[in-house]
Symmetry: C2
Subunit: 345 residues, 2 copies
């Protein structure tokens, strides 16, 4: 209703004190007389005063706003990630600008610069595909902490949270072993990406750890796609001694493996154990029964938020630190998870 919001001087005037005193009350300073404090607080309620954080920010030249840019909020993985961040940010008394880049680097650039103008104290970025170091350089250089999540940006000297592919693969294989499997394949992908290498290494080490000799034929290379999954199964069908289960490079491959098995009259989950890395590529399509390995997105979000907050409070970003190793969990999606080996058809 009011043309101008009631301000600190309004209530100072009404209380017959100076605005400095009111400011002290607002900050909960112990220096102020109990009576004055009460009077002031009463007036604050009566006049419907609301603190103007923008003015305070200007004066102190710092803010309690953190920026979050997510490449695809539509993908439930990233939505969960955002929720995790939200939790930490709020409980630290901050607010967040949260924007969706839709995998557009242009959009992302605009949004980041807009957030910068609005005075964010830190930024968490789940980068759009194709993001370059130069996209975040100005921000980082100006002393605003930046934390990258989920995806790496080559050349960017900022803290980054990535999932631990090695540990994830290891966990998956241990899971299969614990269910009685010994002939376990690794399906999908080619040795041309870091991700493939890390996951395969986890596969090898977990098998070695269990004294299971590695059958090199069981590492079945194929396109890291649904079609690739089908192809891998076709390859496998020719083996004299077939695997009883597989770790798939990602969920797309896992879906393809399901397809391939079905067309060979094997029921996935029942006739063959599958664990897929959950990269949530196809999260929007129907999810078949599957056991997946994935990072806990909310947990990752929380950690990311904690990290920016820490850097903000530290007053300076230590741009060299590259953080990794997010805990991975084995979880079941709906339907048929991998069964004990004995129960398989």
């Amino acid at each position: 209703m009011n043309k101008t919001r009631t301000s600190i001087v309004d209530i100072a005037h009404a209380a017959g004190v100076s605005k400095s005193t009111v400011s002290l009350v607002l900050q909960g300073s112990p220096l102020v007389n109990e009576k004055t404090r009460e009077k002031v607080n009463a007036l604050i309620g009566d006049l419907g005063y609301v603190y103007n954080r923008g003015a305070a920010n200007l004066r102190q030249s710092r803010s309690k706003i953190i920026g979050i840019v997510v490449n695809d909020l539509t993908n439930s993985f990233f939505a969960e990630l955002a929720v995790g961040m939200d939790m930490m940010v709020q409980s630290a008394g901050y607010v967040q600008f949260l924007a969706h880049s839709g995998e557009s680097v242009d959009r992302q650039r605009e949004v980041i610069s807009s957030m910068r103008e609005n005075g964010i104290a830190g930024l968490i970025l789940s980068p759009a595909r194709g993001t370059e170091a130069s996209d975040i350089k100005p921000l980082a250089d100006s002393g605003i902490p930046v934390v990258l999540v989920v995806r790496n940006v080559p050349g960017a000297k900022v803290s980054t949270l990535l999932s631990d592919n090695y540990a994830g693969a290891k966990a998956a294989i241990r899971h299969l072993i614990s269910l009685g499997h010994r002939r376990i394949a690794f399906m999908g992908g080619f040795a041309d990406t870091a991700v493939f290498g890390e996951r395969l290494r986890g596969y090898r080490d977990a098998l070695a750890e269990a004294n299971i000799p590695i059958n090199e034929k069981f590492v079945i290379h194929s396109a890291p796609s649904r079609a690739g999954g089908v192809a891998a199964v076709e390859r496998m069908m020719d083996f004299a001694e077939r695997p009883t289960s597989a770790l798939c490079l990602n969920d797309a491959v896992a879906f393809g493996v399901c397809d391939g098995l079905r067309s060979n009259n094997i029921e996935p989950g029942k006739g063959f154990g599958i664990v897929g890395f959950d990269d949530v590529i196809e999260a929007k399509t129907a999810v078949p029964a599957l056991t997946t390995v994935s990072v806990d997105p909310q947990g990752m979000g929380q950690r990311a938020a904690q990290l920016v907050l820490k850097q903000i409070n530290a007053g300076q970003t230590d741009p060299e630190s590259i953080v990794t190793s997010v805990r991975l969990v084995v979880r079941q999606s709906c339907g048929a998870p991998v069964k004990q080996l004995e129960e398989l058809a």
Copy 2:
């Protein structure tokens, strides 16, 4: 790096002009000499100046920030909603505080008040269950436009966007009719909620419109749940003349109907046409093949954003207006949509 960001006076000084002139350049005023403008713009680039929108907001006592609070970002419906809002908000040159209340009214209250202190120009709220008019009253009273989406808050005198249940049901029935169906059931729910009434009315009117006599037995009441869907099918199996398709009260019922059909050896989508209202209750579980009627969440988000923006620009909220009727679309989820009647088994 710099202790203090370079400001308008720094570049004014460097350019040998006054800060007012720089300000004018920043605002793209035509009053300023071409040469000066160029010089200033050059300096802006060189000195790495970034506009301090907070200061401007303070001076003008208005902001280009809008607040969005969503009850559950984890639910893909609301995530899409948020994305739709994001689109409009950004392209209008605004930024958004976006927070997740997790269905907690307390959390929601905190978040709203925090946003208020941070000077939002408007608020879009997808209210947590149990939200009361008093939760938004102070904001609205202070002249900040508030728009409610998806859920109503009784007693709140603010603009509200709800889905049009009547039109949705009508669209669904027309769709089934266009596929050749004439014996169409309405499954799930009891006549105790407004939603049920509206959807049933749409069902009736669409049938009437096509001169299809209504068979009251085809309105099969049951719990509005998955179990209720199963029950409805069981009931239907006893009919001498069975329906060939159904509109289900919501997706939960629709899933149950699928279950029920399968246990009677009827393949849903192939042997029986199903359209469900997509309330996205089970969006996080596997989605069976289904044709659904739902509001387009992104579209709804966009409309909500347009509405707040309009009210912000109008300079005053017209608190009486209650907007409804969001367009509903018939869409197919993955798998088997409803077939032409002739193709049914």
